[in-house]
């Protein structure tokens, strides 16, 4: 998984993410699984993401998005 941009990393460390930053984080984790944002969200909701720890983490991150 690539390094996250500094602003996103700092927002995570502070525990204060904007909706845009949450989407950016989801997109980074999706990329690590070879998926784009929309596909990752669709598969997270269908519980069909890869079963590894990144997929597990991503599934719970998608639950943080506004419905």
């Amino acid at each position: 998984m690539p390094e996250l941009p500094t602003a996103l990393r700092e927002a995570i460390e502070r525990g204060e993410l904007t909706e845009e930053q949450l989407r950016q984080l989801i997109a980074f984790e999706a990329q690590a699984l070879g998926l784009d944002f929309n596909e990752a969200v669709r598969r997270a909701k269908a519980r069909t993401l890869p079963r590894n720890y990144i997929g597990a983490d991503l599934e719970l991150l998608v639950d943080l998005l506004a419905a």
Partner: protein, 191 residues
Amino acid sequence: MPITAPTLHAAAEQFREHLNRVLALTVTRTRLVLIPSPTLPRVQLAFRQGGRPVEAKLHTRFGVIGLHLAQTCEAESVHGRRRQQQRLRTVAYRYTLSPDGAADPLLRWEYDKQLAPQCRHHLQGTVELTIGRHAVRLNDLHLPTGFTTIEEVLRFCIVDLAVAPLSREWDEVLTESYEKFKGDCAPRGRR
């Protein structure tokens, strides 16, 4: 003692600090990091470094095994002595144990409050089973478990996988934390 605070974020921060202390005294110094939802009353706790999800690498009697922990928590309003408080509740968890180099976790403990019709608390994994004349994998089933706490997974790592504990007090630390929080985050009979 319930995990309550004036805000969800403050309650989750208490929980995170407590769990990180438990982890550091038992199996790993890898830390849980809090990600709050920008719009929903919900937070995620997971092992992260540099913002990215990571596994804690544990040296077990079967070689190196990666442990990943993640939980989603919400809050319910309760009346405090002086004002409204937020009580933390776990609504989802994912705990995985993956031998080094394995594509899929050997064991996955999962819970989803909304999951249906499968067992909401279940265990899956790449373990092969024989049922009659049929060969199946645990990944094909949702083996019921009841609420699995992080403390129980850490205990499994030390007792069954022979991970060297990081302190002499590991047993007391896990017992005390289990007793303190199990009833608060997942009271029996509550959905």
